[in-house]
């Protein structure tokens, strides 16, 4: 942000007292104003970014609480015109789909991260995989949804599992990247000490490297889970629509909170809006639980380090 401030033309140049410039007492007017305007702009940009965050959170909490009640958690989702507040199936669906995606993406991602940090290192294969993981991070979530639609739904139909596949594809590169970073933080001395004791490399990785990196791996995975739990686009065509509970991962269509929010936002009815706000509050709560958990694990990691 280049801030060229309109300043009045500098009058006679001030005598320069080099040393006093350090304390800002005798800065020339243009320099002083430019500096002040820049500082103001920096603070303004922080406030600009905070305003929507605060507004969104306040509104979601305020409107969301209107929908919250026992019925919200236990009731089936009513028709869009209804004023009933049931959202239970979507909560269960979100938990099932996210859990299944985690079970698929985290082990695969951590194994890939182990390859990058312990085996591939600076080799060509590792460099390529690293690059492709970066590319995969950038694949739009809607494209992941279309991909799973073409490869899975066309053959096996819509289900919570199809949605989980799409989310897993989104999580995978995130887990790989953060995982490799964490594994790289493990000092080589530990590896060498273990190898010098005669351990096989695979055992060294399982008993020394991964346990030392475990808090970091956990926190990275939790953040990936948090991100995936809020995704809507990959689930639109993969899990279908349902208004009743379906705890079955593999059979039958399902529904999740983000899709209910989307439907509510598209609907012209007041009741649907209220349910959407409630679903938004529940979703943010779920996402923040994972985010905070990741923070807690990271905090514990850093206190362990300083001990």
């Amino acid at each position: 942000m280049s801030v060229e401030t309109p300043t009045r033309p500098a009058a006679a140049p001030l005598p320069t007292y080099d040393a006093t410039d350090l304390v800002g007492a005798r800065l020339s007017a243009p320099r002083r104003y430019k500096n002040r305007v820049a500082t103001a702009c920096v603070w303004a940009s922080v406030i600009l970014a905070l305003a929507p965050l605060a507004l969104v959170i306040v509104l979601v909490v305020k409107n969301g609480l209107d929908a919250m009640g026992v019925e919200f958690f236990t009731g089936n989702i009513p028709s869009t015109r209804s004023a009933a507040t049931g959202m239970g199936p979507a909560i269960v669906g979100t938990l099932i789909v996210t859990a299944a995606a985690t079970v698929m993406a985290v082990p695969l991602g951590v194994l890939a991260a182990i390859y990058l940090s312990e085996y591939g290192r600076d080799g060509k294969v590792a460099a390529t995989v690293r690059f492709l993981a970066g590319v995969m991070t950038g694949v739009p979530s809607i494209v992941m949804g279309l991909f799973v639609y073409t490869i899975w739904v066309l053959n096996f139909g819509q289900s919570a599992f199809a949605g989980a596949l799409a989310l897993a594809c989104l999580m995978l590169p995130v887990v790989i990247r953060s995982g490799e970073e964490m594994l790289r933080l493990v000092p080589d001395d530990l590896r060498n000490a273990s190898l010098a004791l005669g351990t096989r490399k695979s055992r060294m990785i399982r008993t020394v490297v991964v346990p030392s990196a475990l808090p970091g791996l956990t926190s990275g995975s939790l953040l990936a889970v948090a991100r995936a739990a809020g995704e809507t686009a990959p689930l639109l065509f993969t899990i279908g629509a349902i208004q009743t509970f379906n705890p079955n991962l593999f059979a039958g269509t399902n529904t999740v909170l983000p899709i209910q929010i989307y439907n509510g936002a598209l609907s012209p009815f007041e009741g649907a809006h209220t349910r959407a706000w409630g679903a938004a509050l529940a979703l943010i709560a779920i996402v923040l639980v994972f985010t905070f958990a990741a923070r807690l694990v990271t905090a514990r990691l850093s206190t362990d380090r300083h001990r």
Partner: protein, 325 residues
Amino acid sequence: MTAKLAERPAGADLVRSGIRAQAANSSFAFVVRAAAVSVFVILVLIVVTMTREAWPAFWHSGLGFVTGTDWSPSADLYGALPFVYGTMVSSLMALVLALPVSIGIALFINEYAPRRLRAPGVYLVDLLAAIPSVVYGLWGVLVLGPFLLPYVQKVADTIGTWPVFSAVFGGPVGLKSMFLAALILTIMIVPIITSITREVFDTVPADQKAAAVALGATRWEMVRGAVFPHSRNGMVAAVLLGLGRAMGETIAVALVIGSTAQITTRIFAPADSMAAVIANTFGESSGVNRAALIGLGVVLFAMTIVVNMAGQFVARRSGRKGAGT
């Protein structure tokens, strides 16, 4: 030397070099290698299966698929240019709005904030990124849009009537519009651009900053003279990765852009984007229409990949390891 030891393969196993141990060792190596290669497999599958499913539409429309300006499934016309235009314009507008704010926040956290406020600053940016996009969409369509409408109307009635400006700010004004989509996108890409620029600013040697201050530079002069020149590549990478993110953003845009396939320079008019039209119409589509929507996905995939690869490339050159998550 140390690195070499760590990389010694199965032969390093001095105690139990039995055949079973060897097998366990090499099978583990095989498994992790397979896991790494899965990334490659998935990307290839994305390209192959989606292109195959989209083929009827590509065949139907030929090159017109990306150059045609009429998208009308009922008339069997599939020209995706209005969506490409909507995606690019909304993303670029968001980028223009988000970049100064992001750089400001990054500077705040790294250079301006009192020490106590730094950690909360990072935390708040994370929080901004943690809010799911559909929630921003909900807020945009139910709260922000209606709130802004009278002001937007006022702008259209004044500036929008001036000769040249009417092409951009002229009415009629819609509740859902390209402008609203760009605003919501801005909020959503600020966190990613901020975190990358901040990482880049972190790499500026403290010596250089100290030197600038020692020469009598004000804080702003220090930023301009020491921080920015050192971070130019990284900021370009941040812009490209933010652009890639904006182009792929779906749900929030689908809710606020207005779902009207038209190419217009008026930012207060409704428009449509590639991701949004897929999300909004895929459910009711069939046959060639469905293939065409998958084809849009292929085009979107290709565009974001190009932008992201460029971003990765610049990021690598600027010497950073990670390139945003």
